[in-house]
């Protein structure tokens, strides 16, 4: 099936400082794609850039195609027609993502008016249905409330309701649970999974919570310092991560079951985008790094098992005996 969205060579620079170094990413219709990586690796910027939501000082190049139509450099009116209606987005901090001086009902109705032309009583009825759908109790009574009268979790539910208002083909969920308590996180994840089943829309789930990604997604892209370093099916990456960074992300997760083991943190910090290492950006923090890694940057290459990987000395694949230790090397 043709892809819903195809991103090719997407680069973003802020004030001449590159933060995305050519991202290629596809989203198939109805698919759930996870985007993981540490803060600042460019997960959110990728999709903000795709929708033209970055501030004007950001310099964006590359192409973003939505079912054939090129969005990169498209006029504002064309982007506005895509936002909300084809691709909707929800954000990290739900409480400050709703306009504090406008009643939530009005904000919902605005989304319905803009994307589906609904006004008056039909808009109100649909807004109430959406509030019901995302699990706001007493929607009728709370229609006229302001955002500060809702909890963070409820605000995220309202954001989701607003995103659903345009019946989008794709929902970008940008760390939707980061600012929420653990129990509320689980509820929001359940809600997203359920809505996806019911509506059939594709979801891009941006998160640094691998557990959440596993719950929602079928495919994962792991990003590091503005590049994709490994991508593949969730089961594939979770069972046998091959990029040392992907492995590091897993080892940094506390285990709930089994014997107590010390957490293995990834040493060091994310490199400053102004001073990226010359070779592989992860090499200074990588236990597997060899001199080669510090000089040459590996490209993201297709692997035999269907995943993509950007590592010169990856961890062993499904069959270690047969795996070519050099298969990821630059050609």
């Amino acid at each position: 099936m043709a892809n819903l969205v195809e991103i090719r060579g997407l680069r973003v620079a802020f004030d001449g400082m590159p933060v995305l170094h050519g991202i290629n990413m596809d989203v198939a219709p109805g698919e759930a794609l996870g985007l993981v990586g540490e803060s600042g690796c460019g997960k959110s910027v990728t999709w903000l850039a795709a929708l033209g939501l970055l501030p004007s000082k950001a310099h964006v190049t590359g192409s973003v195609r939505l079912q054939g139509a090129d969005l990169s450099g498209a006029p504002r009116a064309q982007l506005e027609a895509v936002r909300g209606k084809r691709i909707a987005m929800i954000f990290q901090d739900p409480s400050s993502s709703l306009n504090p001086v406008q009643r939530v009902g009005r904000q919902l109705c605005e989304a319905l008016r803009v994307n589906r032309g609904l006004t008056g009583a039909p808009a109100r009825a649909e807004a109430l249905r959406l509030m019901d759908l995302v699990g706001i109790p007493d929607a009728r009574g709370r229609f006229g409330n302001y955002p500060h009268e809702f909890s963070g979790g409820q605000c995220q539910r309202l954001m989701i309701a607003m995103a659903l208002a345009g019946e989008p083909d794709l929902l970008i969920a940008d760390e939707p649970t980061t600012a929420l308590d653990a129990t509320i996180q689980a509820q929001i994840l359940d809600l997203l999974a359920r809505l996806r089943r019911e509506t059939g829309m594709a979801v891009v789930f941006i998160s640094h919570d691998l557990g959440a990604v596993a719950q929602i997604c079928e495919r994962v892209c792991v990003m590091y310092a503005g590049r994709i370093v490994e991508q593949g099916a969730v089961t594939q990456l979770f069972e046998r991560p091959r990029h040392p960074y992907t492995l590091g992300l897993f080892e940094a997760i506390p285990r709930l079951y089994g014997p107590r083991e010390p957490l293995v943190p990834i040493p060091g910090t994310v490199p400053d985008p102004r001073r990226l290492p010359r070779g592989c950006a992860f090499s200074p923090r990588c236990a597997q790094a060899r001199p080669f890694c510090r000089d040459e940057r590996p490209d993201l290459l297709d692997q035999q098992d269907g995943r993509q990987l950007a590592c010169a000395f990856p961890l062993p694949g499904a069959d270690p005996a047969r795996a070519d230790r050099k298969e990821g090397v630059l050609q």
């Binding site: 506005e80 895509v82 936002r83 954000f91 306009n99 406008q102 605005e110 803009v114 500060h148 345009g166």
Partner: protein, 308 residues
């Protein structure tokens, strides 16, 4: 809401009383009206008679109580110069002052706020920098310098407008312009920074992300939020409608409240000065009260806060 308003009203009343008391005490400490009004060569018995007539020989606390009592019965005292009622003297000057300050306020609002918003929405453009530069010039040049420069240009060099005095609307143009320039600069800067702050908020991105047109994002989501800090500044300017013209009225010999205040202070005309200060305080307090109520209307979070 009732509690909110009544607390504010009480606070306003206390403020006015404090101003009255302060003015009363300072005026009596800072010089003797008899010496100023009668001159240095008047015999002592005449001075004593004058002091007795105006109760200046009584202890200050008794004068104060009498003053407060009179205020509450609507008596604002009389001018020591010609015994005319102070309130009348003051009120008859109000229209002249408003003739300058109201157009000046409209200019400040009508030019300052749009300039600031425009600059914010075209941040770092040449026009933005131009607005900032003009705004800084506007509010750093003192009004007595600005007034003289405008007179030099429009009255002396081009001979387009009168350089001073009271007359038709042409006479009001230069003083009103002088008064407005600083405020235009201040409002432009404030509106610009308020708007820049709001445009960077997550809810603006949300509105864009849900497909709202950019113009409607600005009008429907950014402006109502940016209005809150802007209203504060406009509130101060409304409060200064009566008091803000002292310097400019003096430069342009405009017969308003400001000039009356200067003349009355130098004459130690106690009742008139007190009456003017009371009026200034009352206007300031009422405008602050209005701003407080407007906050509640503009920002539902404050409405909730006021209930507790």
């Amino acid at each position: 809401m009732i509690r909110f308003v009544s607390i504010r009203l009480l606070r306003a009343a206390i403020t006015v009383l404090a101003v009255m008391t302060f003015a009363f005490v300072v005026l009596r400490l800072s010089g003797d009206p008899a010496a100023v009004l009668l001159g240095p060569d008047v015999p002592k018995d005449v001075v004593d008679a004058f002091r007795a007539e105006w109760h200046l020989d009584e202890p200050i606390w008794r004068q104060y109580l009498a003053y407060i009592e009179a205020i509450f019965s609507g008596d604002f005292g009389q001018s020591m110069r010609d015994r005319s009622p102070a309130l009348e003297l003051v009120l008859e000057r109000v229209p002249a002052t408003l003739m300058l300050t109201v157009p000046a306020l409209l200019l400040k609002i009508g030019l300052g706020i749009p300039a600031g918003i425009y600059a914010a929405l075209h941040r770092d453009s040449a026009l933005d920098r131009g607005v900032i530069l003009l705004a800084i010039l506007g509010f750093t040049i003192p009004s007595f310098v600005m007034g003289l420069v405008l007179v030099l240009i429009f009255a002396v060099t081009w001979n387009l407008l009168p350089s001073g005095g009271f007359g038709g609307w042409q006479h009001a143009i230069l003083p009103a312009l002088t008064m407005s320039i600083g405020g235009i600069g201040i409002l432009a800067r404030f509106s610009r920074s308020a708007m820049i702050e709001v445009m960077g908020q997550p809810y603006i991105r949300t509105a864009s992300a849900k497909g709202v047109k950019w113009r409607d994002v600005v009008r429907g989501h950014a402006l109502p939020n940016a209005a809150i800090p802007i209203v504060t500044i406009v509130g101060f300017m409304v409060g200064a409608l009566i008091a803000g013209a002292v310097v400019v009225e003096t430069i342009f010999s405009w017969p308003g409240i400001g000039r009356l205040l200067i003349v009355s202070v130098s004459n130690r005309d106690l009742a008139v000065v007190q009456c003017i200060l009371l009026l200034i305080a009352a206007v300031m307090v009422v405008s602050n009260l209005t701003v407080d109520l407007l906050y509640g209307w503009l920002d539902p979070r404050l409405r909730a806060g006021a209930a507790h």
